[in-house]
């Protein structure tokens, strides 16, 4: 028997799979997709039109919008990292109590005796840094393409707000492990904000929930990190995505 090429092998396997009983029982018309799915321009349109995707994408986009080298997927990846951070963050919330007496121990226990605890915490940390980076790069990409110009000016404003929210989300999360790194990084950061003219002390007091960093600060930043800032960010993201579509999709090529 002649030696098969990789492509032929793949085609062979895919044909065998598709003719198998298991495949046909799952993908027979009316099983998962009630009317089956056949590839036609009409069905391609329906996939978008009849699903949640229609909130994010139109049925058709200009060809250049699909080119990865144009957008580098940065906006979409920022959003995806936000989702990834939400998922891993919810997992972490099950094992964490935001008090000065328990926070560090909870993280330590999470790392040492919770299944996948260490992995999920690592993922949360690295995805957070990655998100700050991707949001930054997304902003640079939009600037260099001149994509903030009319009619997209206001969406740029929302984008800058989202960038600020991303930094705040990352910064509030920085305190939560309640280790030396967290405590002193936040001390440096909040001392800086204390120099706000006129009402610097008040700003610092509101941020820290007291005159010094303590257990009240931890609770305050925890609520900001897991509830308030994500809530605000989601609202601004909704407006951002909506405006992307209303302002004519991804801006044209240079």
């Amino acid at each position: 028997m002649a030696k098969q090429s990789l492509g032929e092998k793949f085609a062979d396997i895919s044909e065998k799979t598709k003719s198998s009983q298991a495949w046909n029982s799952i993908f027979r018309p009316g099983s998962i997709f009630r009317k089956g799915y056949s590839d036609s321009p009409r069905n391609r349109s329906y996939v978008v039109m009849n699903s949640l995707i229609y909130h994010l994408h139109p049925v058709k986009v200009k060809r250049h919008a699909v080119k990865v080298s144009y957008t580098l997927c940065l906006g979409g990846l920022s959003f995806f990292l936000f989702i990834l951070l939400t998922v891993t963050g919810i997992f972490l919330m099950f094992f964490y109590r935001p008090t000065a007496a328990q926070a560090w121990d909870d993280i330590y226990t999470l790392q040492t005796s919770v299944t996948f605890g260490l992995l999920v915490r690592n993922m949360h940390r690295w995805a957070a840094h990655l998100m700050v980076l991707s949001v930054f790069l997304h902003m640079a990409r939009v600037f260099y393409h001149g994509a903030y110009k009319a009619p997209r000016e206001f969406n740029w404003v929302i984008g800058v707000i989202l960038l600020t929210l991303t930094l705040l989300l990352s910064f509030t999360g920085y305190l939560l492990p309640w280790d030396q790194l967290a405590l002193w990084a936040v001390t440096v950061g909040t001392n800086m904000m204390g120099y706000t003219p006129v009402f610097g002390d008040q700003v610092r007091f509101v941020l820290l929930g007291g005159a010094e960093i303590g257990t009240d600060t931890l609770l305050r930043w925890y609520v900001l990190h897991v509830l308030m800032l994500p809530f605000v960010a989601v609202i601004f993201m909704a407006i951002h995505f909506w405006r992307v579509r209303k302002d004519g999709g991804i801006s044209g090529p240079l």
């Binding site: 321009p41 391609r44 978008v48 995707i53 994408h57 139109p58 049925v59 058709k60 986009v61 200009k62 060809r63 919008a65 699909v66 990865v68 979409g76 995806f80 990292l81 990834l84 560090w104 993280i107 790392q111 260490l118 915490r121 690592n122 993922m123 940390r125 690295w126 990655l130 640079a140 600037f143 260099y144 001149g146 994509a147 903030y148 110009k149 009319a150 997209r152 000016e153 740029w156 404003v157 800058v160 707000i161 930094l167 990352s170 920085y174 492990p177 309640w178 280790d179 030396q180 790194l181 405590l183 002193w184 990084a185 440096v188 001392n191 800086m192 904000m193 120099y195 706000t196 003219p197």
Partner: protein, 242 residues
């Protein structure tokens, strides 16, 4: 004067020649013989319209033939009653058809790309998290200030500015102003073009600022040691935690 294309000149000359030789043939006859309307229909129309429209056709033919002896003042050099002023191309006055845009279906073209990108990032995060652990130093201790104390990396540019300016300028004024100008960027930059060659100033300004910022962050991250003094990471070690 606009140049008249050769084929139009030729056509005009042919028409002139035809007018001088066969001028007696009426124009209605010519159109009837040239048109592609079936004969039976033409016959029917002729039969139906013979009585009432006879006057009208007569009038029309009179109208057409009447200017044949034109007033001397209205004719051109060769007896023309009309002349070509300019040739206007069809698309130049109105554009009826929408220009076709090259578009592709979001499913599967865009969604597949997005899915693969998301998958790649997830894979990267998982693999990176398997091999590199997030830092967890010892329990927070108010009585022991680590040396150096550093902010998260994205604020290290600001912390670097602290070494040069008063804290109010470095911590509030400069970042506040930067954010404010960033928000106002589309309202300041009124240049409608998005081509790089048309916006050299905007691009160079942004690049200078981004580079400036990146350099500050890198100095703050890697070139600052105990006491936030300047060090070389290859000589004195790395004082940086993510």
């Amino acid at each position: 004067m606009a140049e008249i294309p050769e084929h139009l000149l030729k056509r005009a000359q042919e028409a002139k020649a035809r007018a001088t030789t066969g001028g007696d043939s009426s124009p209605t006859e010519a159109t009837a013989s040239e048109s592609k309307i079936p004969e039976e229909l033409l016959n029917r129309t002729a039969a139906a319209g013979s009585q009432p429209s006879a006057v009208a056709t007569k009038d029309a033919s009179e109208e057409i033939t009447s200017p044949q002896p034109p007033p001397a003042s209205a004719t051109g050099p060769a007896g023309h009653t009309q002349r070509l002023l300019a040739v206007v191309k069809s698309g130049s006055i109105q554009d009826v058809k929408l220009k076709p845009v090259d578009k592709v279906h979001v499913w599967p073209h865009l969604l597949v790309v997005e899915f693969v990108a998301a998958l790649a990032v997830t894979a990267f995060c998982v693999v990176f998290s398997i091999f590199v652990n997030a830092p967890l130093l010892e329990l927070a201790n108010f009585n022991q200030t680590p040396n150096p104390s550093k902010a998260p990396w994205y604020f290290l540019g600001l912390q670097e500015l602290l070494t040069m300016f008063h804290p109010m300028v470095a911590g509030v004024t400069i970042p506040g102003l930067a954010l404010f100008l960033l928000i106002l960027a589309p309202y300041i930059d009124k240049n409608p073009s998005n081509k790089p060659e048309d916006r050299k100033f905007a691009i160079s300004l942004m690049t200078v600022h981004l580079m400036f910022w990146a350099v500050l962050v890198m100095i703050g991250s890697f070139f600052r040691g105990p006491g936030f003094n300047f060090i070389f990471p290859w000589a004195d070690g790395l004082f940086f935690e993510l």
